[in-house]
Symmetry: none
DNA sequence: TATGAATGAGTTTTCATTCAT
DNA sequence: TATGAATGAAAACTCATTCAT
């Protein structure tokens, strides 16, 4: 296998990362053994160590990739969308509705991680990442408020938190109860609820 | 030793259950060791086995209790509230805002469980439980629609799913990022968004 | 085993330390497995971890104890002996001739350690310890020179090095070829060689 | 490929043997991995197996070569030296003072081996080898006694043991504390101590 | 009943060895 | 011949569970 160059190595790395993300999300970080992951990737346990120094390294890599995907998602949509609200909707659609196996992991992995690990280890990074996302959401909401798409009297921070919570929750439910759920309808309704905030503006700032 | 009556036994059982729930939520099911739990309950590791046959039994008991609490929560509120929407709001408030350590576990434990276990074991029960909750929510929403508190053209199933997802997500965020979050504002906004569905009804059923 | 107090715990710790020292010396640090050590101590592998956090901890403990024994040996003899040379001889005798299994490990363990480990880990401590011993030997030799027991023209540093080398070497040989060796005669001759340095003084400082 | 002749194969074998000896001595037999050795020899791990059937084979080969070098050392010196004592001194000098990396391994390797391996495997050979060396030393000492260079009342066996022990010990110290040691002075003193045995003869056999 | 020492099965990790290229 | 990816058999370590006290 002397000729199996970088390309092959990269592909392997990817497939391990993929398998790990899948299993971390499915079984939890602790329950997913290196053997499980190796099997899922079509390898023996020991082989993984050629690509990742330890289970923790692998975990970190999965996490980093999830973070990166998330950022890319936000960046792409906010750059290409015609308006802030549209951007928000597109991001929401991609998280709620459209997704391959890999995309769905963006949030699950983080939740699985946080549920399964000592906060001292990863917790800070996870928490920081969630906060960053919340800030991004808040900025987009404020932009939408500035452009008149969302009621300016709404508490942007609170809305960002709700969107994050609902998205996270939906990911978990999709992952676990996948078949018995009609995501599309839920997403449409969510959009409607956010849009509805325009009409109810007077009620809002009088509370 | 005959004097160590049922009362004492029950108290011990309770405190173990309590400690277990706390630790399962805090560290994840796998990372919480029997010794951890015993220490948290003020016992030695071996003693737990007098009250629960195995860690799995304990896990199951914690789960069952969480389910039971959840049911009690719904029952109490729907019986005492003056209207369906108020009931929903009260339930929401108790889940989002008011809660002692124990209550906050209602959802976390479920998430922790689902994140940490092989779906073959617990998954079905968890999934079934979540479905039951969704049905309950749906019934309450439909009741609110019947009484004119919520726009009747709204998809009750979708709303139930959103409420469940958001509540679950909020629990996780509270558990992990607790300090940096303003739950009360988020809850108020959530209430407003659900209420807002009344005003936007015409838009909704024309989609 | 609730009543098995500190005394029992200490005894266990001792016996594990004992077994570990024996096996480290006999098979080398790497080849001596935790199971080996446990078996030698009459335990299962896992049990050791109740007393020592890791194999490295155990190694360190064995090392520390060896150092301590060594120091005690030097201290006792140099305090109680009637003269510096006698002290040196007594120390020598205890290292070369008299010794139970445990004492013989004083040096072997250090050699086994150094032979089997990455110098980055333990090497510095080992080296420092050996240097300390050499300094002690040198001081004793100089005292003997001051009191006229050893030729003052002898290079005390060089003699200390020789004594340390010979003692270390002897320990290894004893450990490995034990039965086929007549230690007593070798020790007597060594004493004679050191004593002989008195007579050859003139030759020495004329070189 | 037919051109890659015996010459090339032998050179490769030599360089692997060299690398292995160096690493066995430096890191210990267990800690030196086949990859380490291969890298040190400028090869890949798998390639070694073209020259040595297994790590154990390689170990054995290193050992055998060390033995052979040792024997050659003794043979050369005892043949070329003008007198038995001079031969002993020359051998000593080559072991204590002069040596390239490879020569210094003569003893270290044996010590590393013995420290790192189950006595059942190699131990016997090692022990036998050491005994052979001791016998050689003894013969040379006896020759020196016969020629009047060393006091005939000295116990030749005991002196051989001391020389072997001191040489072995020195090798270890040199390997590990190399820089902080003045070998030359120690060697000179050792020579002096052996020579001194001439003068102290009367004292010796009267003890 | 409670303790906590001990066991043993399971998990991560390492590395000699094999083998497709 | 040489490579280095992959395997698989240990070895370190963890922890649910048992049991003598």
């Amino acid at each position: 296998m002397a000729r199996v160059t970088q390309q092959h190595v990269d592909a392997r790395r990817e497939s391990i990362l993929d398998a790990a993300a899948r299993l971390f999300a499915r079984k939890g970080v602790n329950s997913a053994t290196m053997s499980d992951i190796a099997a899922e990737a079509g390898l023996s346990a020991g082989a993984i160590y050629r690509y990742f120094g330890s289970k923790d390294d692998l975990l970190r890599a999965v996490f980093d990739e999830a973070v990166e995907r998330n950022e890319r998602l936000f960046r792409e949509e906010s750059e290409s969308a015609p308006s802030p609200l549209t951007a928000l909707q597109n991001i929401g659609r991609r998280i709620w509705v459209e997704h391959d196996d890999r995309d769905s992991l963006i949030c699950e992995v983080q939740m699985a991680l946080s549920a399964a690990r000592d906060p001292d280890d990863f917790g800070l990074d996870l928490s920081r990442n969630r906060q960053v996302i919340r800030e991004l959401l808040k900025s987009m909401i404020e932009a939408a408020q500035a452009s008149g798409e969302i009621d300016p009297y709404i508490d942007a921070t609170a809305l960002a938190l709700i969107l994050q919570a609902a998205s996270g929750g939906i990911q978990t439910l999709k992952l676990e109860d996948g078949d018995s759920i009609d995501i599309q309808s839920a997403f449409d309704l969510m959009v409607q609820m956010v849009s509805g905030l325009r009409a109810s503006s007077s009620a809002a700032h009088e509370r």
